[in-house]
Amino acid sequence: MNINKVEEGIFKVLMKTSTLLVLVSLFLIIYSILQKGLPSLSWAMITQTPKGGFFLGKGGGILNAIVGSLYLAGGSTILGLFISLPVALYLNVYRTKTSQFADFTRLCLDVLWGIPSIVYGAFGFAIMLLIGLKASLLAGIITLTLMVIPIMVRAMDEVIMTVPKGLIDASYSLGATKIETSIKVVSKQVLPGILTAVLISFGRSIGDAASVLFTSGFTDRIPTSLMQPAANLPLAIFFQLSTPIPEVQDRAYASALVLTVIILLISILSRIATKKFTKHKSLV
């Protein structure tokens, strides 16, 4: 009898410890990025593009990477939204919420969601070769868009699914066509869902390096057209860290801090946006 009590006691301690460990790992990560990055973070870092010899320790900043990342993430999120919103609406309005086709589509999207970004990168690269596109902002955006489509569709889908079916039916009976129904009723109801999807995909694409590694190129300048290559934060961090020069490595930590802050902001924003919806797919 008492062996049971002891066993339960031990496991309770283990459970609490594990939970604590999971949380501590998050704080540890943020703490060490802060601790390492803060000292070398400067105004110049985030307002200047790299000067000549930046990777050898000379002056300049990572503005090229910040802007490049914003372009890449912004571009792919906007493009992704144009593709994803109709799909999410189609799944919920034209198809009954539980049709086999819709289920199969959801399964495919979930599977796509799990595909490693390096595979998207390789695929995007293959497409680039096929259509004769060079490594550029455009190629990066296209690749990232492919990657965020499943994320966006499913994020919106989860929210639209919570729209009561009666509401959609009621609108039909008022004589609205299906297209009007989709746009008016559902869009209004799912605005927070769209917001979540946008934030999740923005966060995901701003932090992803593997998929743009082959496709967006890397440059010290801020791109002025879609056909120019574009830098991005994760790769800037990676390249700075790969140099043997301590000052450059320090700047990698500072860049990591910049990226972390952006990601945390997005996390907080999407929590606020989704506060009403308890059952949403989180950033997983």
Binding site: N4, K5, E7, E8, K12, M15, T17, S18, T19, V22, L26, L28, I29, S32, I33, I83, P86, V87, Y94, F104, T105, L107, C108, V111, L112, G114, I115, P116, S117, I118, V119, G121, A122, F123, F125, A126, I127, I149, V153, G203, R204, G207, D208, A209, A210, L213, P234, I237, F238, Y253, A256, L259, T260, I263, L264, S267, R271, S282, L283, V284
Partner: protein, 282 residues
């Protein structure tokens, strides 16, 4: 609308076809054995042995899962069965934040904290020396990266277990822990396996974080304190040269195809299982 929906399904098959198409040249030129059972990687000599990379990937993934799964199971059981609402309300958003952290940040953190830990403490404790850039380091970093997805899926699985089933066990005088151990975990077993497989496939395809801490030495790692060179790192590190050497790009595309197929199968099976669990409950 319809067209875009079909497009999103087709994307899955497009990627598959694209990667197969690009992998055909190397599969034609090189024998199966030389690709998958050879340890020789010398692109200039047209030797593309993928074995060290495949082994490294498997090794890192297994280490990550072995570390992660017990912690995630304990955490998920605690959150779903023991913790009160305030704890859950506090923990959930933090796990979501962890999920959003980009892999390059995990990689940097691995270099700052985990590499020295392995180099200065773990390796000496086992009587060896190490640079700190090892399979174990990669495994530790990855294990934390996959916390959120495993915990998230586990929580959803535990949520599907009917309260009345737990009550059935409690009502014959079982303790909460006995109920967890004998009933909940057993009932949740397929879901738990799905959660693990999803975590596994996430770890499997992770690139930058692993690449930064695992050493990238082409060899077959034996001990977890050996360095390794996972498939994803192979692809990422060689994108620059791949167009200049014949068949090199095809070899890397084949590597991507391998990743894709394995992850695809893992995901498909576990999503299927999860879907069925949901349907049975509904």
């Amino acid at each position: 609308m319809k067209g875009l929906t079909y497009f999103s399904i087709a994307l899955l098959f497009l990627i598959l076809i694209g990667l197969i198409y690009k992998s055909v040249p190397i599969l034609k030129e090189t024998s199966f054995g030389n690709l998958f059972f050879s340890t020789e990687w010398q692109p200039l000599k047209m030797k593309f042995g993928l074995l060290p990379f495949i082994i490294s990937t498997l090794y890192v993934t297994i280490v990550a899962v072995v570390i992660s799964v017990p912690l995630c199971l304990l955490t998920a059981i605690y959150l779903s069965e023991y913790a009160d609402k305030r704890v859950i309300a506090f923990v959930n958003p933090l796990i979501d934040i962890l999920a959003g952290i980009p892999s390059v940040i995990f990689g940097i953190w691995g270099i700052i904290e985990v590499v020295p830990l392995v180099r200065d403490y773990i390796a000496p404790a086992f009587g060896t020396t190490s640079s700190g850039y090892t399979i174990l380091t990669g495994g530790i970093v990855l294990s934390i990266m996959i916390f959120p997805i495993i915990i998230h899926v586990l929580l959803e699985v535990f949520e599907t277990i009917p309260e009345d089933l737990k009550n059935a066990s409690l009502s014959v005088g079982a303790t909460k822990w006995q109920t967890v151990k004998l009933v909940i975990l057993r009932k949740a077993a397929p879901g738990v396996i799905s959660a693990i497989v999803l975590g596994l496939s996430r770890a499997f395809g992770e690139t930058l974080a692993v690449l930064m801490v695992v050493g990238n030495v082409i060899m077959i790692p034996i001990s977890p304190l050996d360095p390794g060179y996972p498939i994803t790192a192979l692809i990422a590190n060689n994108y620059g040269e791949m167009m200049s050497i014949p068949l090199y790009d095809s070899a890397l595309m084949l590597a991507s195809l391998i990743l894709f197929v394995i992850v695809l199968v893992f995901n498909f099976i576990s999503r299927r299982i999860l879907k069925n669990i949901e349907r049975k409950i509904a």
